[in-house]
Assembly symmetry: C2
Amino acid sequence: MARPRASADDVKLRERLLLAAEELLRTTPFEELSLREVARRAGVSHAAPYNHFPSKDHLILALAQRAAHLLDQAMHEAMAAAPDNPADQLVASGVGYVLFARRHPALFDIIFHHEPPEGCGPLEEMDPAFQRLLRAVTNLGARPPTDAQGILSDAVFAWVHVHGLAVMFIHGTLNRVPFDEVALAREHCRRLLQVLAPQLAT
Amino acid sequence: MARPRASADDVKLRERLLLAAEELLRTTPFEELSLREVARRAGVSHAAPYNHFPSKDHLILALAQRAAHLLDQAMHEAMAAAPDNPADQLVASGVGYVLFARRHPALFDIIFHHEPPEGCGPLEEMDPAFQRLLRAVTNLGARPPTDAQGILSDAVFAWVHVHGLAVMFIHGTLNRVPFDEVALAREHCRRLLQVLAPQLAT
DNA sequence: CCTCCCATGTTGACACTGTCAATTTATGGT
DNA sequence: ACCATAAATTGACAGTGTCAACATGGGAGG
């Protein structure tokens, strides 16, 4: 029989470790994340995490899944705050994506920069966000809904661009470009819209 | 007076270390680059590098500069191998960029993922490649050559997209998309061309 | 030609990391 | 009350970046 205490405490420390790690990532770049420091912050000894995660990479994987969910949520909120028409919705999703990356660089990094420990297909955790993008692209109506291939192409095109924007912001590559970040993000997303659905462009 | 032997040997080991590091990066991801392993491969003891680089980050910085030069060269060669018209030249530069990233992931990573040790403005080493892109965009003739602002915007737009493509390839984010990589790169670059210079699109 | 100097390289140490084996602890089921 | 067992601790090992102390050998000055 399953011991309620065991599983209860299990979840408790596991959760505490994840929270400590997220807290740490708020001030520490992802590359410098230390398992021992996480344990320290969770108030346990350096090997305690190994009762809940087989390795550091597994802890990171769990963090990546959570971070991907937060990213999806950020996109959702950005879209909810925007006018309810296909054009503004798509732009909002893109801007939400890059602003999340800007605000939580370590969390964003961890989503894409983690080495999947074993098997576990690449980036399944990004699916919700990508599905959201796919819907936004479909709603543009630039292609017949039956043209799944074309819609996929468009969505990938948008994703790639917005992702490039995000990582270049994070790593400061665009610092010498004399544009404000959010303005640049908006401009690029509007331009993307113009590519994907010229008839909706402003 | 400057001692010829000193500077000669200086260059010799410094160069050997850089070569060993590049050799190592051909089979090892950038995050796992170890200063001690580099020293080992160069045939010196673990602290010898500190006579030529104040820290590991400085060695990495030097590597980043070299890698940026290689990237610029790769773009140059890709353009030289393409038909000599503005449209094909721009596409070739983009495809060259992402194929370099694909072929030398660690070298590409190190260009953008390195923490500048101190001061040393962000990504000056990317300047030659970016200037190359700027020229290619200018040659499209989509904007009057006097419109420096607009041309810069266009170049940044292209750079951001191609960069996104590169990092997503490297980190396997696009693995589940059912497209061949080089085909996808070509398609995206042609589409970029269509954005920047509609009159030249095929 | 001899001597001294100093840049280069070596050795050993320190603090830190991820990981594992052995051990202690404590709690739920019998 | 006792035992089995999951969970946590302790201690170790190999590896890392970095620094201080030491060794060495070849050019410069006499």
